[in-house]
Structures are given as C-alpha cells and as structure tokens.
Amino acid sequence: MGKARSAGAHRKAPGAPAGLRGGRARPNPNPFEVKINRQKFQVLGRKTRHDVGLPGVSRARAIQKRTQTLLKEYKERDKSNVFTDKRFGEYNSNISPEEKMMKRFALEQQRQHEKKSIYNLNEDEELTHYGQSLADIEKHNDIVDSDSDADERGTLSAELTAAHFGGGSGLLHKKTSQQEGEEGEKPKSRKALIEELIAKSKQEKRERQAQREDALELTERLDQDWKEIQTLLAHKTPKSENRDKKEKPKPDAYDMMVRELGFEMKAQPSNRMKTEEELAKEEQERLLRLEAERLRRMRGKDEDENTRRPKHMSADDLSDGFILDKDDRRLLSYKDGKMNVEEEQSREASDDKSEEEEEGEDSSEEDPEESDGPDSHSDLESDVESEEDSERPKKEQHQTSGKRLTRDGQKVREAASTELPYMFAAPESCEELKSLLSGKAIEEQLLVVERIQKCNHPSLAVGNKAKLEKLFGFLLEYVGDLATNDPPDLRVIDKLVVQLYNLCQMFPESASDSVRFLLRDAMHEMEGMIETKGRATFPGLDVLIYLKIAGMLFPTSDFWHPVVTPALVCMSQLLTKCPVLCLQDVVKGLFVCCVFLDYVSLSQRFIPELINFLLGILYIATPNRQSQGYTLVHPFRAFGKNSELLLVSDEEDTATWQRKSLSLHWASGLRAQTKAEANHTRLCCVAVCLALVKRCVLMYGGLPSFHDIMSPLRALLMEHLADRSHPRELQELCQSILTEMENQKKHCRPLICEKSKPVPLKLFTPRLVKVLEFGRKQGSSKEEQERKRLIHKHKREFKGAVREIRKDNQFLARMQLSEIMERDAERKRKVKQLFNSLATQEGEWKALKRKKFKK
C-alpha cells in the first residue's frame, strides 16, 4: 500500500498547480498528490466534475476509516465484553453543557440526600438566595409586614427584599452575617440599628394607614358615583339593571356587584356596552363600507372580479345587528301604542344618518344629534336578548324616548291595541291577509302585520321563513289592491312600506323574486296592449307604486341589479309607449319621471326617454305652432286633439294659481271639480315638469354632449318665455333653467375623444425547449426520465457498494496477511533464536570438549 501511494504521488507530480482548484479547500495541497484527469476534447457547455483528484489522500482516508471501524470489529470479533458509558447525557446533543451540568449536579445532590437522610434526620439542606438562607429572610419579613394586609404584602415584601438584598446597603447583611458570614463591615452598633429599624417600620405603618384611609374615602366616592352610573347603566343592560333591583336593599355590597359585573363581562364579552363614540364610529364605518360597496357596484367595472371576491355586504351582514334592532324598535313602540312618535324619531335618526353620509363621511364632527341615532340603536340592540321580559325595557324606553309622549293619549291607544289578539298565524293566501287587515284603522293594520312578523320570526320555528317570505308577496299584493282602490289608501301604503323594507332585508332573494314577478305582470299587460291596439295606456297607480317601492327596497345606483334594471326598462317603456291622453296621464307620467330621476339620483345616469317626455309635456303646454329647433318623438304628436292638453288660457286662473305639490290622487282618477281647479292642476304639472327639467339640467351638465341633448328643451323654453301667458313663478323658473343651461356652456367640450390604446404589440412568446445535453439521457416523458434516473442511480450505488465491499475484503485480507506475516516472522525469529542458542550451546560444548581433549 505504501508502495502504491508513493507510486501515485509520483504520477501526480506534473499536474501539481491544478491541485489548487481541488474540491476540498486545503491549506497546503501537496502538488505531488494531485492527479489531473486530462480531457481529450474540450466540450462546450459540459460540466466536468472529476477533472482533478487526490487519490492518495482519499485512499489514506478510506484506510483510516477502515482501521477505525472495520479493523476494530475484526479485532474484537471473538470478544463479548462491552464497555458502557453511564455518564448522564454524555451522548445527548440536545442538552446544552450547562443543563447537562445542572442535571448531573441535581442527580448528585439527590444521591447524597438519599444517602444521608436515612441516618441523619435533622440535617436539612439549606435553601439560599444569593447565598443567603431563605429561612432567615422569611423570618425577617414576618416582623416587618405583620400588619400590612394581604394585598400589599407581596409588593411590600418585594420592595423590602429588593432594598435589602439587591441594594447591598449592609443593613441586612448584619443580620445574615451570623449565618453566612460574608461581609465584615459593621458601621453601626447593633442596638442602634434595631432602633432605627423600628422607627422606620412605625413610620411606614403610619403612612400606610393614611393611605388606606384615603383609599376608603375614594371608594366611598366611587360607590356614590357608581350608584349614579348604575341608573344610567340600567337603561342599557336590562340584566345589570335587574341585579340592581335585587340588590337595592344592600346597596353597599359593592364588592359583590363588582364581582358579578366582572362575571357578566366574562360571560358575554360580545355584549359589552359600547360607548357612544364607539357606536357612532361603528355606524359610520358601516355606512362608509356600504357606500363604498354601492359605488363599486355602480361602476360595474369589476363584475367578474365580484364573482371571485366573497361578498361581504350580504343580508346577514345587515340582519344580525340592524334589522333586529329595527324590529325591536317596532315592537317596543307598538306596545307603547305610539307608533307615530317612534316613527318620527327613527326618521330623525336616519335623517341624521343620511346627513352623515352626505357630508362625505368625514367623521370629523359628531354633534350630539348625530350620535343620537346610534344611541337609540344601542338601546335596542341590547333589547334583543330580552324578548320575553320586554316589559321592563319598555319602561326604560319611556324614560329615554318618552319625553314627548303624552301619558293619557298613550293609555287610550294602549287600550285600543290590546283588543287585538297577540298571536297571528301567518296568512296562507292573499285573501286571508286581506280579510285580516280590511276594515281596520291604519295603526291596527300595522299592528297586525307587526305581530304576524313577530309570531313567525324565523328563529322561532322551522317553517316560519317560508311563511314570512310569502307574507312579503301578499303584502305587496295588498299594497297593489290599496292603490287600485278608489280613493287609494296611500297613507296605509306609506306605513306598510317600512314593513316591506324590513321583510325585504330579511329575505332579499324571495323579495326580489316577488317584485320581479309583479313587474313582469305589468309589462306583460302592456305588451299585450301594444300588440293588440298598437299602443298602451298608462297603467294604474299600483304599478307606479310598485316601481317606487322597488326603488326603496333595492339600491338603485347599481350598474346592474336583478330588480332595478328591469324596473328601469319598465319605466322607459311607460314613458315611450304610452301616449298622453288626459290630465291623469300627465300626472302619472310626471310621477314616473320623478321616480326615474330618483333612481338615478346617485348614479347620475342619462335617460333619453325622460328628456323626450319632458319635452312633450312642455310642448302640450304651449299653443300649437310650427315647431322649430326641436322634434317631438314617439308618444307625442305635433298636432292632434291632445296637443294643447296643458295649455291654460284663462287669465284669471293663472292669476290665482299657487304653487303646491301634486296629489297622487290625481293619478288614480280624481276628477277636477271645477274648471279653475283643473287649470290649477295643469299649472302644477307644468311647474313640476319645469322643476324636473331643471334637475336634469343640473344633473347632466357634465355630459359631453349636454347642449345637443338640451337644445330641443331650450328652444321650447324660449317659446314658453316668449309666450308670457304663464304665471310669474313659472316664468322665473323658465328663466332660471335657461340661465342654468347657459352657465353649463362654460363646460368647454374636450374635443379629442382619445382612445386609450392598449399597446397591441404582438408578442411571440418563446417556445421552451430543453437544452440538448450530451451524456444525459433524453427521455421522452417525465416519468420515464425519472425512472431512468433512478435506475441509473441504483446501478451506481450498487457498484459503489460492491466496490466498498471489495475494498473492505481487500483491507481485511491485507490485515490477515500482515498478521500471518508477523506471526511467521516471530516464529522464524524464535526458531533462529533457538538455533542460535543451540549453536552456542553446541559451540560451547565442543570448545569444552576440545579443551578437555587438549588437556
């Protein structure tokens, strides 16, 4: 072996400098040990791994390894003794040396302890802290803290110990020195020291007493405060209030209450009373979020994005806090019998909310009015849990909201309302509902609906959800019936709208379905009429009211909405397909216009039909003449029997006219009693129409072709102005619209309709092909490649293993050989020695013999 190594070293001599590049970074490579595997051809891109080798070194390493492992085994092959190392954790690398030491120490101690304790009873191990006996420390503390109460003890002792042990002031060392004998410095005599200590402790005691008195005083004050707060709190949490009542006989049991309060807090952390600011903020955040959501939907840009994103404004979102509290507000209020007042209040509250919203959600100012709304919410929110014992919160409600209530009126109404049964089964058909509701006063009807809703709340029974869903449809139908009545019960509808809204919030899907069903019915009817007669007439008031209600139940500003979009189309149909034949049609048409504009009031969308319709209405308010600058479109004709429908020629009527809101009863077949009244209504219509025109002008001012849209209207308004037959007020309105239009002119149109061109560069994506590599197997599929790789690896490993075994055998054989050789050499040496001694003996014997012979 040594021979081989030397031979290798000799061979390697020429490639010495290349050895520097060798895989292992060795400080001083022997240039004679490096072997270069010379390449015959330089192949570009091929990685060479074995261009340099250190055969000598590696062989030496291999031999060394074998001598350590194989040779050992070989030598111990016939031995059965084993050496075990019992040191704790000697071979465990998980434990750090310190820990190891600690454990060993502990073990040692344990062993010692056990050993001693058998015979030595009173020898205890001394516990120390920073080298001082703990027993001593305890003794000392007991003296000092004897009168402090449990609470303060911990802190004080800590303070003392810190002062005594950590500070090294030497005071305590005096005492401990007897046991420990650490430091020898004693600046004062013992007696003086003790006196000082006593004085100190007394002073401390006094101080503590004073403190405690202070604390007592404070707690008393706190108690009083608490009582005050308690009354306030009682409004908010009925439960706590309950407890308050229970504990009234012993109001000083502050502790108990505190504990109980704490208990409650822990039990229901979700119902923590929020402060007003928090609530206001939350409400505002909610509104902000909803508004943002609305804007997103209005733009309608990211429709497909929507599908991926989980929608967070869902019905649940609203219903969990919002609807229920609305419900309860209703509940409370009807038990009070003060529906109207409550309603007013809620209106105020939500007005505030809308104000908040309109103010751009600044959230900077929060005047008390604003926080009013959320406050009332908070009251009611907490009421949710206590549906059964709503009696008590009711009283509370009186205190907060009942400032405006008049007691006696309330009682009268209460009496009236108690006549109604409290439980109502949900109606199974519309007729049933009608029979329930018909012939009752407005309040009673509301009550009935209310109670149906309450009794069948989805949380109470399984089938209630379906029942309430149906109830929504029936209510809608009922509203339609009310609207078709003569005269229509608009007031009832007005109140029922709130119920509809609440139901809709609970079941958006079914509500939208039923509204769509109604719209579809209306459209079907109209379509049928168009097909048979070629034109339609304006539908009844019910359809108009449905349209209006749909706009209140669903967000009208969405880019696309399953209910609102069909409703918009429906209204457009009304405005384009229905010719205006009488004054009633004008009122209906104007109402549709109003609803239409309300629909788009947030989204500011453009409605061509509306402009056409208003143009037509204005046209029929002027005397016929050759039109110039505008053309009328479909439902209106330039000439015909209805082309001067709204023209008022009576001077007197124009003079006596007063501007006021139009009554919806006009739309349902109300006939004018006198000619003057009819004329007044006409003028009202014109006024409304002009107001709508103005609104349109303001709304569409930003549109790029605003003037093209408005030019017919302008021409017509000019005519109106020139006419001078209108009352002064209308003329002023005309004038203001015209100036408004002129003002819009400053919107200088941007001429360049710039196309935002996305760069339409055609990009050829590179085709990815595997780089051809020599020497690597080009497998067809991935699996096959993998398989081949594995086979190859296995083969290599196998070969490696075989080689290892062979080398092991060689090594062993070498070892055996060397052993045998050694043994033989020994034997030979011994034989030689024997021969040697024998020869010497022989020689000596011969010499002796010769001497004898000579003798």
Binding site: S572, S601, A691
Partner: protein, 500 residues
C-alpha cells in the same frame, strides 16, 4: 221538382219556380234554391242541353220557327244566364253562408262551362274559358260597397289553379280600371278588396309548374297563352301597374310596400316599371319612405337603376322617429346594406354616423342596443372615419362643428366632429347600452359585430332578458331604511307629490 225538370223537358217551366225561390228573402230557402240550381244546371251542362254559340235574343227564337229542341235549348240557356246573374248578386248577400254557397256554385259552373264550352271553338284546340261568367265572379268579389276579405280568402283556394289565376288577373285589372274610371271617388273598401285579391295572387317560380288547371282539359296545347309563365307575368304586371297608378290611400300604400319586395317585384316582367310608384312613395316621407326604400334597393341592386341623390335622401330620412316606427328593423337592415359598401366617401359615412349618434340621444334602450353596434360597424368598415372617435392632437373646440340642420351630408362637417354623443351614452342607465357605448373607448376590434339579431329586439325582450339574468351574488339591498312611500325629504317624489 228538380228531378221532374231533369227527367222531361215538358216540366221545364218548373225552373221558374226555382228561380223565384232564389229571389226570396229567407236565407234557408235561398240556400236550398242555390243548391237546386247548382244540381240542375250542372246536369244540364254535362248533358249539353244548353245552347252553344252566340246566344240569340230570347224573343226572336221563341217567335222564330226553329225546332223545339233548339227553342228549348235557347230558352234554357237564358234561364241559366239569369240564374248566373242572380248568383252574382247573391255574392253581396249579407249572410256569409249564402255568399259562400253562391261562390262555390259559380265556380262549379265555371268549371263545367270550361269543360263543356258554350261557345263554338273557332278552330280545333282553341282555348276556351268562360270569361264572361268569370268576370262576373270577380266583379262580385271586388265590390266597392263592403269588405269581402272573408269571401276572398275563400276564393284563394281557387287561385291555386293556374288558369283561374291567369283569368283572375285579367279580370281584376279590367275591373279595377272600370271602377276607377267609373267613380270619381273610389271608396277605401274597394281598394282594400282589390288589394286583398291582388296580394292573394302569387305566381309560381318555374314554368313547369303550370299544369294545374281547374277546368279539366284532355290535352294541353303550347299555343295557349295560359300555359306560359311569361304571359302570366305580363298579366300580373298589368294588373299591379293598373292598380298602382291610381292614387292609393296611405294605409294601403304601406301595405303594398310591405309585400312589394318579396311578392311583387320578383314576378314582374319588367320590374323597372315600378320605379314611378316607388319614387312617389319615397318622396312622401316618414314610414312610407322607409318602406319604399326596400323596393328601391332591389331595383338599384338587381336592375341597375340609377337613382340620383339616393344617399342624400337616405340621410334625410334619419329623424328621431326612426327609432320608434314599426319598420325600424327593416330600415336598419337596409341602411346597413346601403352603407356596407367600402367605396362610399368618408364624409358620407361620417355624416351618417354622426347623425345616427345624434339621434341616439333620444332613442329608447332597445333601439340603442341596435344602433350603437351599427355605428361601430360603420367606423370599422371605414377606417377613414375613425377620426370620429380617435383624433389625437386635435384642436380644442368651443362647439360641435357638425351642423344637424344641413341636408347635404357633404356639407355637414361631420368629419371635423367627434362622437361625443356616444360618450354621453356611456352614462346611460341601462347597463348593456352603457357597455355598448363604451366600446369606442378602446381601439375597435377588427371583426364587425353582426347586428342581425339585434334588429328585431323589442323593449319587452330586453326586459325579459334582464329578468332572467341571474347575478352571481346575492341580491344587494338598499341600506338606507325606507321611511314612507315618497321617500326622504330630499327626494324628488316627496318634493313634488303629496299623498293626500
């Protein structure tokens, strides 16, 4: 009675009784009598017991000294004649059943008379048809007094037969001419009847089809005019031209124009003769012009008609009512065709695009859904017009250079303008419209969008589509709680309406 007459000539005077019953007022009796007549004269015609040839006046024959048989025949022929006249009168009977029966009987006579002609053939194989009798029928049908549409629809099944059709055409053109010249003021009913009859006539496409004769012939001869489609066409053309040269009421004009392109023009021998009528209609304006456009298009397209200022007139046709008329689909289909040529000058196309988009500002959504792709298609076809939506680096203007009042598209300065109207329509309330209008924001894609499925779109369909469409998410809800029917205080409804 009937059998008696048929059985012996001696009982022949019983015919008078039958004819007398025919005059009666009672509906049942008349029907009975008509049936009797039908059987009686049918049998007589088959037996050949009626006089053949030029009919001499009754008195001379009676007074004359010819044979009894001849006398009988002549006399019978006279009775037959009066019967036919009476039947013709019965076509105006108030009861429809009677009318129907009378018509059926007359047509049966026509058939039998054709098979057993009452005239002497002038030469062998001469084509004979009871023209007199048939004219009587057609005149009865085209009554100027009352609407005969029901009867005409009954008559329509006879028009399946080629010979009947041919003779109807001839008779109808005669009658129309006669009535039109006879009356100073032709009632609307007559025109309606005439139109119903005329429109019921539909010619076969191929000559080989003409073999379906009502009157049975043993053999067909090539010499007969009836056999040739060309003759049919000539008769057809004569009939229509004769009809259309009169001042027709507007409603009828519309009806004619509606069927013009597919049931009249292809069958005319010389379609270009229609140009007078079409030009007249085209100049009337409004919906009629739109309809006339179709016929004109066929003439221009297939018959090389030269029409001066065609595009200018087409341009003039575009007014706000285009989107509201019934024939919107047809008009835009044609306009699409007219403007599909890539050889049109850019100014013209630009003017059309600009005008259409200006009109779109007043259009209902269903029309907008159609016209917006239409405009985009125009811009696609004519890259020179793309400046309308893409004018980089153009100067800032104060007002739209486009002049909407200008009649001549060349002078409207549309090319200097831009389609701001489409930009405005991007704010339209209907999502689909808004999307369609937003197309111009990007560079227009190369393939044209087909507007064919959009042409017939009605508002109701749009509505249904919106209803059916399902959003991916739950229905969004309004988050501002409702307070009352009229909404909040700042809402328009609450401002202008009250509940009481």
């Amino acid at each position: 009675l009937l059998e008696a007459v048929l059985a012996s000539r001696g009982e022949a005077n019983a015919v008078f009784d039958i004819l007398a019953v025919l005059q009666s007022e009672d509906q049942e009796e008349i029907q009975e009598a008509v049936r009797a007549c039908s059987r009686l004269f049918g049998a007589l015609l088959e037996r050949g017991e009626l006089f053949v040839g030029q009919l001499p006046p009754e008195e001379t024959v009676m007074a004359g000294s010819q044979g009894a048989t001849r006398k009988y025949k002549v006399w019978m022929r006279h009775r037959y004649h009066s019967c036919c006249n009476r039947l013709g009168e019965l076509l105006a009977h108030p009861s429809f059943q009677v009318k129907e029966l009378a018509l059926g009987t007359l047509m049966k006579f026509v058939q039998l008379e054709g098979a057993h002609p009452l005239e002497k053939p002038k030469w062998e194989g001469n084509y004979l048809f009871p023209r007199q009798l048939f004219k009587l029928v057609v005149e009865g049908l085209l009554s100027p007094e009352e609407d005969r549409s029901l009867l005409l629809s009954q008559f329509q099944e006879y028009l399946e037969h080629d010979d009947i059709r041919y003779h109807t055409m001839q008779a109808a053109s005669d009658t129309v001419a006669q009535v039109a010249t006879g009356h100073p003021e032709v009632p609307l009913v007559f025109w309606n009847n005439a139109f119903t009859l005329l429109s019921a006539v539909s010619l076969p496409r191929q000559e080989s089809d003409i073999s379906n004769f009502y009157v049975g012939h043993t053999e067909l001869s090539d010499k007969w005019k009836v056999v040739h489609l060309k003759e049919h066409r000539r008769a057809f053309q004569l009939m229509w031209l004769g009809f259309l040269k009169h001042e027709l009421p507007l409603s009828l004009c519309k009806k004619v124009l509606v069927i013009m392109h597919d049931s009249i023009l292809p069958h005319l021998a010389q379609p270009s003769l229609m140009i007078d009528f079409l030009t007249r209609a085209y100049d009337i304006g409004g919906a009629i012009s739109l309809l006339a456009l179709n016929g004109l298009f066929i003439l221009i397209h297939k018959h090389n008609l030269e029409y001066p200022d065609f595009y200018q007139k087409l341009y003039g046709l575009l007014d706000p009512s285009v989107f509201h008329v019934k024939y919107r689909a047809r008009f835009f289909h044609l306009a699409d065709l007219f403007l599909s040529s890539s050889h049109l000058p850019a100014y013209l196309v630009a003017a059309f695009a600009k005008r259409l988009s200006r009109l779109a500002l007043t259009a209902p959504p269903e029309a907008l859904l159609m016209v917006l792709p239409f405009i985009c298609n125009l811009l696609r076809r004519h890259p020179a017009c793309r400046v309308l939506v893409h004018r980089p680096g153009g100067p800032e203007l104060d007002a739209d250079p486009y002049d909407p009042g200008e009649e001549d598209p060349a002078k409207s300065r549309a090319l200097e303008s831009s389609l701001w109207e489409l930009q405005a329509l991007q704010q339209h309330y209907h999502p689909e419209v808004s999307k369609a209008a937003s197309v111009i924001n990007q560079a227009l894609s190369v393939p044209e969008a087909s507007i064919a499925p959009l042409l017939e779109l009605t508002a109701f369909e749009v509505f249904e589509r919106d209803l059916k469409r399902k959003g991916p998410e739950a229905v969004p809800l309004e988050f501002i709680p409702a307070q009352g029917l009229l909404g909040r205080r700042d809402d328009l409804c609450a401002q202008h309406f009250t509940l009481s």
